[in-house]
Symmetry: C2
Subunit: 124 residues, 2 copies
DNA sequence: CTGTATCCTCGGGGATACTG
DNA sequence: CAGTATCCCCGAGGATACAG
């Protein structure tokens, strides 16, 4: 989500000697939030959980998302090492997106949150 | 974060008979994301995890946040049943914010995500 | 089919000043 | 101390058209 955080120090503790990079994080959760903070990120993660999907497949799975936004989010997730992009140079183009091991571990870490939402927010 | 989602149906499954409310969610994760989607929400949750805090205390704990934004987020978290606001009618005013049981359960569900972020994003 | 290229909207968030 | 009240910016996200 490209939030550039102010020098928030919640968990305080020892200071990070050398600030990792501009827009540094300060605790695990907001670091993770930066990765999954896009409007459709978690939905993409979820959609990719069971098996790889092609671009058009994803678009159809996420009604309402535009090509531009889907591309943007996929590129960011790819840059973060969450999803893997496999392009087969044929005509018509054939591209498959899948979760990397890191992406799978993220999805696992997301599960409790999903359970929480299902139990406490949904089924009102 | 007040995103009004399009009719996304990732987890498919049976359809929600009666749509819960405008801006409905469709799986636990994005339902949860709606609750913690503010820029400072998870930081507030984190700050409140160990013990209640007063308004000014929170503001000092979250360097960079403004009164307006802190108030907005606290009001939203309160509306979502995540934080509890206890005002003591004295002068000067004394107000304490704390996590509700629901808030504590949310924080627990957030923990794995925090671990993930700490392990895979931080300490680059 | 899988994307680019443009342009634009909109509201979350920030800055600042003020009040009970 | 604990907030309101205003005004405003900016960029993520959307709409649309086009391309290899």
């Amino acid at each position: 989500m490209k939030w550039v955080r102010a020098p928030a120090v919640v968990g305080h503790s020892g200071g990070m000697a050398t600030t990792p990079r501009p827009g540094a994080h300060h605790c695990g959760i907001d670091a993770a939030m930066d990765v999954i903070g896009g409007k459709w990120k978690v939905l993409i993660l979820w959609a990719l959980n069971d098996h790889p999907r092609r671009f058009g497949d994803l678009r159809r799975t996420l009604p309402g998302i535009t090509e531009k936004v889907l591309t943007d989010h996929l590129r960011e997730l790819e840059a973060d090492g969450i999803v893997d992009r496999q392009a087969h140079p044929v005509t018509p183009p054939h591209v498959e997106y899948s979760l990397t091991p890191l992406g799978r571990s993220l999805n696992t870490a997301l599960a409790p949150l999903g359970d929480w939402g299902r139990e406490h927010v949904l089924n009102a």
